[in-house]
């Protein structure tokens, strides 16, 4: 998102942007050193876990347009893999962090057959199949012997003090989150990322232009799944227990979609913003209300409000406003020649980045009906 608007902007703007990103990173890194309240740090760890998870989700769903409501499968597979390997090899303490890539690998390995089946169908069928496959996995976690059934998998003892318990988790979550955002940014600008976006805008046309949709979608799906698996492993280590209904949790899928849509589906900064806004809010609501169902109703109502009144998300709308405001200010301040042409591409690119609305997609609807 930011790279799109940065291109026509002068270098001073880019420097400013990089500086503010650097400051934000330093602030995030200093957070557990300044804030010593364990509860707040706990909120922050969970928020970072969600920032990473939603960025990973967006890397596939946001870029390709295939909305996955089955990412809890990868989360759960990662959690169970790390948990079971820890138990089996008797790994202790901080060494467990080294097992996280294993959880990611397991999740990516699951994603390949999952994707080979689910990605063959149309977009809305894909959503439904991800839900179905999710239920298969939850049931398997309940039914197999090696998963511990309803008792799940618990962590062994810890080796560090309760006072600074959160700190290592915080930094590992931060590294994964920053890494995922960086990867999303790199992919967005790459040839691979452009192919993904082309698939989102018009899959048949992309195929006609030489993109191999299955290969591209499956690669993105596996990358996204791998990261989600690592996060699942980290979550298991942090919470200390994985149960079939918490590791394979349908609310996780819904939360990820909600965060991405609130911030801006398919943008880079939007999902991060969505997670930063929603996860602390959800934690707060769940602590304030004695009854968990109020939190659930609240989540659903918020989701409906976002879909109805802010369907494109905060970031695309805000950046469009900013662009048009800048263009207007520059037109007033200076002679229009030159400046307008500089502002025009950014105005044209910004909506395309947010929604990908093109003339071809509108004309596609009636012809789709007649083909049937």
């Amino acid at each position: 998102m930011s790279s799109q608007t940065a291109r026509p902007a002068p270098t001073r703007g880019l420097a400013l942007r990089l500086a503010s990103l650097g400051i934000a990173l330093v602030l995030v890194a200093l957070f557990p050193l300044v804030i010593t309240n364990a509860l707040y740090v706990q909120f922050a760890v969970l928020t970072l876990i969600y920032v990473a998870a939603v960025s990973a989700w967006n890397l596939f769903s946001g870029y390709s347009g295939y909305i996955s409501l089955g990412h809890a499968v990868f989360f759960g597979v990662g959690a169970y893999t790390v948990g079971l390997v820890t138990q089996h090899w008797h790994v202790l303490g901080g060494d467990i962090f080294a097992l996280l890539p294993l959880g990611g690998l397991a999740a990516a390995a699951v994603a390949v057959p999952f994707g080979l089946i689910a990605l063959r169908v149309r977009r809305h069928t894909f959503v439904v199949i991800t839900i179905a496959i999710f239920f298969i996995f939850q049931l398997m976690a309940f039914n197999f012997n090696f998963t511990g059934g309803v008792n799940g998998v618990s962590t062994p003892f810890f080796l560090w003090l309760a006072g600074s318990y959160n700190t290592p988790f915080y930094y590992v979550a931060m590294i994964i989150a920053v890494g995922t955002i960086l990867l999303s940014w790199l992919i967005r600008g790459s040839r691979f990322g452009l192919q993904l976006l082309a698939i989102r805008d018009d899959e048949d046309r992309a195929r006609g232009l030489g993109v191999r949709p299955m290969q591209v979608k499956l690669t993105a799906f596996a990358i996204s799944a791998g990261i989600t698996g690592m996060i699942g492993g980290l979550w298991w280590f942090y919470i200390g227990q994985a149960l079939p209904e918490t590791a394979f949790n349908p609310v996780l899928d819904l939360s990820l979609a909600l965060m991405a849509f609130l911030g801006g589906f398919g943008t880079l900064a939007g999902p991060v913003l969505g997670a930063l806004l929603l996860e602390p809010l959800q934690q707060y609501v769940s602590i304030q209300s004695t009854n968990g169902y109020y939190g659930q109703i609240f989540l659903g109502a918020l989701f409906l409000l976002v879909i109805l009144f802010l369907p494109r998300g905060i970031v695309p709308v805000a950046s469009e406003r900013l662009t048009s405001w800048r263009a207007r200010r520059e037109r007033r301040g200076q002679p229009p020649t030159g400046r307008v042409t500089a502002a025009a591409p950014s105005a044209a690119v910004a909506p395309a980045a947010g929604r990908g609305v093109g003339p071809g997609t509108e004309s596609g609807t009636p012809s789709a009906g007649s083909v049937r």
């Binding site: 347009g65 909305i67 409501l69 089946i117 063959r120 169908v121 149309r122 977009r123 809305h124 069928t125 959503v127 439904v128 199949i129 839900i131 179905a132 496959i133 239920f135 298969i136 049931l139 398997m140 309940f142 039914n143 018009d202 899959e203 048949d204 349908p250 609310v251 819904l254 979609a257 909600l258 849509f261 589906f265 009854n291 169902y293 109020y294 659930q296 109703i297 989540l299 659903g300 109502a301 989701f303 409906l304 879909i307 109805l308 369907p311 929604r355 990908g356 609305v357 997609t361 596609g364 609807t365 009636p366 012809s367 789709a368 009906g369 007649s370 083909v371 049937r372």
Partner: protein, 294 residues
């Protein structure tokens, strides 16, 4: 084993009739509006609770209670469409409506928890507890009555769809929305009424489900919707005949696996059958060929 098997098959066919009814509502909504109503599962549970309230507190017979619950569910369906589905516009409409109906589902689930708690309830009546001997084994009356009800309602739907002017406009909208609008069909009205009808059938489905299933609580909605989704995808999205065949097939398969293998795996086999079919035939058994792009 042989008798258990034939019992499982009979139960599957009779129980599948109710699922067919609920699945037809879901696939009808998909066919006309191009959206998947994730809330269908929890609406079935809501309807079961409505029947429960009517029978326990007002002592109205379950089948007589349908005279109240069917119109009530119809109104709820039209209201959901009006408030949350109709306003959605633009390219991501299908995905958005799916998420919107998911959000509606979790709100209804939360409300049901607040009102009724998480205890499992059962619908009770004389025909639920007493049984009749058929072909050497006992069968509860509710299975027979429920199956008969399902047949009557599916027939009514069939007649509405294929023998009335309104049904013709529904089918026209399913085939081509733009062309239907061009020949003067009020597509929005058709969409609203179809959504209402699709939800109204859950009233009957919920009543029979609440009386025959192993009890229901607000969480049962997830189980129901995942089964219904599997059924309509297997049958081919938008295909009414496909939904009915797939419902009977899947519920029977589940019952057979239940007897031959283990109850805890029967649900997994249910979804595995779906995945297997889709691996070879992505559009389902009776599905139309995929249209361009979406």
């Amino acid at each position: 084993m042989g008798r258990q098997l034939s019992e499982a098959i009979t139960d599957g066919i009779l129980g599948g009739g109710v699922y067919a009814l609920m699945a037809v509502g879901l696939t009808l909504i998909f066919g006309v509006l191009d959206i998947i109503n994730i809330a269908q599962g929890i609406l079935v549970v809501l309807a079961a609770y409505l029947s429960y309230v009517l029978s326990v507190h007002l002592h109205i017979d379950l089948f007589v209670g349908l005279l109240v619950t069917v119109p009530a569910m119809f109104v709820i369906g039209v209201a959901i469409h009006w408030a949350f589905i109709r306003p959605l516009r633009g390219r991501e409409r299908t995905s958005m409506s799916l998420l919107a109906s998911y959000a509606v589902a979790i709100i209804i689930e939360g409300l049901l928890y607040l009102f009724f708690g998480s205890n499992y309830e059962n619908l009770r009546a004389w025909y639920v507890t007493s049984s009749v001997k058929v072909l050497g084994f006992y069968l509860n009356y509710i299975y027979i009555f429920g199956f008969a009800l399902a047949i009557v309602l599916v027939l009514a739907l069939y007649i509405t769809l294929y023998r009335t002017q309104f049904g013709r406009s529904i089918r026209a909208t399913m085939q081509d929305r733009t062309a239907a609008r061009l020949v003067g069909i009020d597509v929005n009205r058709v969409a609203a009424l179809t959504f209402g009808i699709g939800v109204a059938v859950t009233a009957a489905g919920g009543m029979v489900f609440g009386a025959t299933g192993g009890g229901f609580n607000p969480n049962t909605g997830y189980d129901l919707i995942s089964r219904l989704l599997a059924i309509i995808i297997l049958g081919g999205l938008g295909s009414i005949a496909g939904a009915m065949v797939a419902a009977i097939f899947m519920i029977t398969l589940e019952g057979v696996v239940d007897v031959l293998w283990s109850p805890s795996w029967s649900v997994v086999v249910f979804y595995a059958a779906l995945v297997l079919v889709l691996a070879f035939r992505p559009r389902g058994l009776f599905g139309r060929t995929a249209a361009r792009a979406q």
